[in-house]
Amino acid sequence: MVHLMSTALVRGLLGQAVGFLLGLVLVLAGRGLLGLDTSWEAARQPALVSAALVSVLGFMLASGMVEDWLKEMRGEPAPLRHGPPEGRPGWWRYLSVDYNHKVIGIQYGATSIILLGLAGLVAVIFRLELTKPGIEFLDPNRFNTLIGWHGIVMIAAILLGVGGMANYLIPLMVGARDMAFPRLNAFAFWINVPAVVLVVLALFWGWDTGWTGYPPLGVFSLAGIDLFYIGVFVVGLSSILGAINIIATSLGMRARGMTLFRMPIFVWAMLATSLIALTATQLIGLSFLMVVLERTFGMHFFTPILTEHAKAIGSPPGNPLLFQHLFWFYSHPAVYIFVLPGLGIISELLPVFSRKPLFGYKWVAMASMAIALVGFLVWGHHMFTSGMSDIMRVTMMWTTLLVAVPTGIKFFNWLGTMWGGKLTFPTPMLFVLGALSIFLIGGLSGPPNGTVTTDLFLHDTYWIVGHFHATMFGGFLFPYIAAVYYWFPKVTGRMYNERLGKLHFWLMTPAFWAMSLSQMMAGLWGMRRRIVDYDPALGIEPFHLVTTVAGIVIFIAMLIFVGNIVWSAVKGPVAEANPWKSRSPEFQVPSPVPEFNYDRPLVVVGDPYDYARPEPYVVFASSSAAD
């Protein structure tokens, strides 16, 4: 109990609670002093904004995540704390500010799975509502809140999951002892916690715009939306800081001999991902900030409201499309943030389980970069029906479809990798193959959305819902699961249960196909997105039934997964250091990986995936001279 109370998590949450109250009081008192209306009705909006902001600060200060920086600012020495803390139980460091990248990686990963579970539970709840036409047990506002919550929390789960993989793996893969900026790394993780708390709190007041938060609806929405906007803003901050760390680590901390084209391919994927996260994320932050400003100070960026005085000075009105441009300038590239790491995992694991080099390594690496860069030029495809100019729509279509080319390159190189290999099928490989097929259908359902004319029909229907569940399951969730199974023995030193793993796969994959295909069909038949009630005349009830049942089966399969890893981490059989006979450096050291990864510097001498060659990928230098 004493230990628990002293963790950053508990202290931070307490600090956040205090900050929240303080924020409320600040606004109420301020309004009182200025002689403004202090009734809750009138003061709620600014009070919640202030409470949200101050609560994040409260978390930061109380958790101790900025302690070292504050010391440095005062000129006091703040040496990097490292290693397990003395006199604390083993779990303590996982709930505390710890600078080891592996601890942070696990913190990210665990948070992401918890969020996945919550958002999945919410999905099951609103799916039950949708099984039958009519309004069963969710009123429209609650329904809208839940779908938006499901969407944004799933997306946060993805970002955190990506952070988990990147943090755990990149230093290991490039042969470093830690990330380039360990303190920043811990900061970037911990800042997510108060953000998630805000998004959870948003449920209480609700918001009705879906995850996209479009104004003007967002401006007039329920009170929870400010917490949603600010929470997402803070998650975005984490994403940017994480990206800085990943780029600096993968470019600046590589082992001797590890040229760019000899890095494990996952590092390339993360490099491309981080370029997007570094730059584009600012725009969603900005767009959300602008809506909050509009709500709080009446700054009409997006709503065409002109006051008398505004008319007198000849001001043009605000424009709702501006928000959509800013929002999608991030949120389209964001889908490649979700998918590139996943595709990197597929590229990383296929050679191991095919015992063959990655086919066309350079092409695969460059395809990641190409996807990331072209991804910046296509945001308008979410706005084909928004009233954007015709020229813009057509331009955005041409660029959108181009993304199919580098993605195709990856697929064909994967086939090349498998072709003629010696394939084995333990659970991680099964999930890789599942990912491949599911992402394929998700990706192929993209071009019909990308061609403007067909999107005039498909936009905002369940076809799109089917499209993006397929891309996100195939491009993120399945590879993520594969990665968890694959590195599980490395992380915990124990082996997961293979039979439960297979059961998980064989439950989840067919259920996923059923869910996604029935969503797509319902969409083609006229099912709109984000409706609590649908017209029984459309005849789409069977599709909805299948979607719901399949969603529940996925949920159960995922429970088996979580049960398996939790149980195996404690009770599983002890694993060998290199159960997959991988050439990757992290598998050349004992499991679990030692505190400082490698006690001697790595030197790259061979190809990362060429299993037929006698020379290894990396050797350990005999001297311990650094640099």
Binding site: L80, L283, S287, L293, G298, F301, G314, F596
Partner: protein, 201 residues
């Protein structure tokens, strides 16, 4: 354990640490410039070829103050690199006061807090108000953080925290300050110069 921690610290040479830090800072600025570019784009999206009538003298004075502050910031950096601690601290303080003057100019006069009749344009005045306050506000926020940064560096410098060999903190502060200045070099014409003044009704 503590011995291991020691090993980890020392493993990275100062030169290497410095290189990584520089990358980190520049990446952060690249990231920030996307946000400022977003605001810049919003101005052209909403205002097109018009602009509100603003006080040209004020704009010119503010811009000059900020540019001159960058000059002093540079002097501070050069001074510490040559070991002139006194001059370093003095230049830093000059930069600080110039920056503070800029901030007061924006908040007090452009935003009308010091004007008895209040601001000419209010935040709620359509796209003019929103963008004007959005751009100046976001920039002012960065000036404010820059000022805090300068104070911290000045305080550390006073305690002898930098040497001609190791002055990363000063460098970071200077680069950040120049960046904030550079942003204004784009914002100033976008707000005060480009486009025709909207007709008054």
């Amino acid at each position: 354990m503590s011995q291991l921690a020691h090993v980890h610290q020392e493993e990275m040479s100062y030169a290497r640490r410095l290189r990584l830090n520089r990358w980190g800072l520049w990446m952060f600025l690249v990231s920030e410039s996307f946000m400022f570019a977003g605001l810049f784009a919003a101005r052209f999206y909403l205002w097109g070829n018009t602009r509100p009538e603003l006080d040209q003298t004020l704009g010119l004075v503010l811009t000059s103050i900020l540019l001159v502050s960058s000059f002093f910031m540079n002097r501070a950096e050069v001074a510490i690199s040559q070991g002139h601690r006194k001059e370093f601290l003095r230049s830093l303080l000059v930069t600080f006061f110039l920056g503070a003057a800029f901030l007061v100019g924006v908040v007090g006069f452009e935003w009308g807090l010091f004007l008895p009749e209040g601001p000419h344009i209010r935040p709620s005045d359509g796209a003019f108000g929103a963008v004007l306050y959005g751009m100046t506000g976001m920039h002012a926020f960065h000036v404010l953080t820059g000022l805090i940064f300068i104070l911290v560096v000045w305080n550390l410098g006073r305690k002898g925290g930098f040497s001609p060999e190791r002055y990363w903190g000063v460098e970071a502060c200077a680069v950040y300050w120049h960046f904030v200045d550079l942003v204004w070099v784009f914002f100033y014409p976008a707000l005060y110069l480009i486009g025709e003044v909207a007709k008054l009704h």
